[in-house]
């Protein structure tokens, strides 16, 4: 969200995922990630991550990308960043490989007299395939989601709580998974993460 300083490193761990209803309980799918980021310049941060949570299900997921600050925050004016991320998946069972690009656009506000920040953003997930099972046409190529979060920053440590509204324009009724959502569209997502800068 917030770019790193030039030559600064950050490592982070995160858990969370889409919230589903299962056996009359409401729970997030327990996905997780471990990532590292590096400040290439004051406005450009490169990052890469692995996702141990999906590996438990037999799917290897890694991602890499960069975040660029378009506008620095000043008083009530938010900082504006965008990030480009490539997500690569491969499963243990059939070695099926998939690549999903992701484009996020975020606005963040620094809290007065603190290093904490609040942010909102939109994440865009892209399906590149033109064909799906049984030679049917892949109709959906853009899956957006909205997110908001707050990062508590204690010196070099950061703690983030983030909520997402995944695929808010897509009907979620009668699917294989009962997604939890305030409407009949999409799914809520809940995530917590911890980071440390060096």
């Amino acid at each position: 969200m917030q770019p790193l300083n030039k030559n600064q490193w950050q490592v982070a761990a995160s858990v969370g995922g889409p919230v589903i209803e299962k056996d009359s309980r409401i729970e997030p799918i327990p996905l997780s990630s471990v990532s590292a980021a590096y400040g290439v310049s004051q406005t450009l941060t490169a990052f890469a991550g692995i996702h141990p949570g999906t590996a438990v299900y037999g799917v290897y997921h890694v991602d890499a990308g960069f975040a660029h600050e378009l506008l620095a925050p000043f008083n009530l004016q938010p900082g504006i960043t965008y990030s480009v991320d490539l997500n690569a998946f491969m499963d243990r069972q059939d070695s099926q490989f998939k690549l999903y690009p992701q484009l996020d656009i975020n606005a963040y506000w620094l809290m007065p007299y603190r290093n904490d920040y609040f942010y909102v953003g939109v994440s865009n997930w892209f399906e590149l395939a033109t064909e799906k099972a049984h030679k049917q046409k892949q109709e959906t190529h853009w899956i957006p989601s909205l997110h908001t979060g707050y990062t508590l920053q204690y010196d070099s440590y950061g703690f983030t709580l983030e909520m997402k509204y995944l695929a808010p324009f897509t009907n979620n009724q009668n699917l294989l998974v009962d997604y939890y959502s305030p409407s009949q569209n999409g799914s809520l997502g809940a995530y917590i993460s911890m980071s440390r800068k060096f």
Binding site: A13, V15, G16, I20, K22, E27, P28, I29, P30, S32, V56, Y57, G58, V59, F89, D91, Q93, D94, Q96, K98, Y100, E127, A129, E131, K132, A133, H134, Q136, Q138, T140, I143, L152, Y154, D155, Y157, F159, A167, T170, Q173, N174, L175, L176, V177, I192, M194
Partner: protein, 304 residues
């Protein structure tokens, strides 16, 4: 002081993360099945939602159905399963029999109105056998793909022992049951069915996953289930009757049913895209309503 805050925050994160992960349980193949266990079947007294209700004219006399208990062996274990045969058991050697493979939810109670409806085809000449797969209703065990096939094959073997022959066996698959009906028609373990009826079938588990994720997600990312109906139906030449609601939100008529139907190579195909019907209401939304449904099924199974 600052160090203490760091430490407490780190502990807090580890604790929250651990609680978060412990509170969650992964989606596994069993979650796809939605069985409801019972100690005894309520049938007409079943209080749950069955999708539609029938009036008393559809009642079946108690003497015309009976519970059948069988032992199903999937090659690894033996499981006690229970079904209900509707019709005269002593006439299985001359009657046509519909083996009804139900959908993924609940148990026989839920499907009982559908059985009563099919019984309208005339129990003098037909019998209907519905079986609760392992883990459903009064059947022991837990459901799994190959167990379902074994359970329905066990029922067919029992029918064969009562005198049924393949030329009088009709497979009826509703929803998930389409996978069982197709599997045992394409690769019969005992009798080779003469005809197959598919109501709101699935094309494959892969296509179900992709309907859910919106992406062309490889099925192996999610599950080991296959239910690969679309490849199997290419080898089925028996007459096919396909019924599917145009408003089916569970198994989409175009991405599931239609592409499956299109792959059937047989020459006797009967397709019914039922306007306005959802997953559970194909019979009453049929042209001419319930009577239309019964008459068309009767015509299909009677025509030799």
């Amino acid at each position: 002081m600052t160090r203490q805050i760091y430490r407490q925050s780190a502990y807090g994160f580890v604790l929250l993360s651990s609680l978060f992960i412990l509170a969650c349980s992964p989606f596994n193949d069993e979650d796809y099945f939605e069985p409801e266990k019972t100690n005894s079947y309520a049938l007409d007294s079943y209080q749950g939602d069955t999708g539609f209700q029938l009036d008393s004219s559809y009642s079946i006399d108690n003497t015309l159905f009976q519970e059948i208990k069988l032992e199903s062996n999937d090659g690894k274990t033996t499981t006690n399963i229970v079904g209900i045969y509707v019709g005269d058991v002593n006439k299985i050697n001359i009657n046509k029999v519909i083996v009804y493979c139900h959908d993924k939810s609940k148990n026989i109670d839920y499907y009982w109105p559908r059985i009563k409806l099919l019984a309208k085809t005339g129990l003098e000449d037909f019998g209907i056998f519905i079986i609760d797969y392992r883990g459903y209703g009064k059947s022991d065990g837990k459901p799994d793909e190959h167990g379902l096939y074994a359970d329905i094959n066990t029922a067919i073997v029992w029918l064969e022992e009562q005198g049924l022959t393949g030329d009088r066996l009709i497979m009826y698959g509703f929803g998930l049951g389409s996978a069982v009906a197709i599997e045992l028609t394409e690769s019969p373990r005992s009798l080779t069915p003469a005809k197959i009826i598919l109501e709101a079938p699935i094309a494959s588990f892969e296509s179900l996953i992709q309907d859910t994720t919106l992406q062309s997600t490889p099925p192996s990312y999610i599950s080991e289930l296959e239910f690969n109906n679309i490849d199997k139906i290419k080898n089925i030449t028996q007459p096919l009757m396909w019924l599917h609601g145009t408003e089916d939100k569970v198994y989409n008529i175009d991405t599931q049913g239609q592409i499956l139907y299109d792959q059937h190579p047989g020459t006797e195909n009967f397709a019914f895209r039922v306007e306005g019907a959802n997953h559970n209401t194909v019979p009453q939304n049929f042209i001419s309503g319930l009577d239309g449904y019964v008459n068309n099924v009767l015509a299909f199974i009677s025509n030799d």
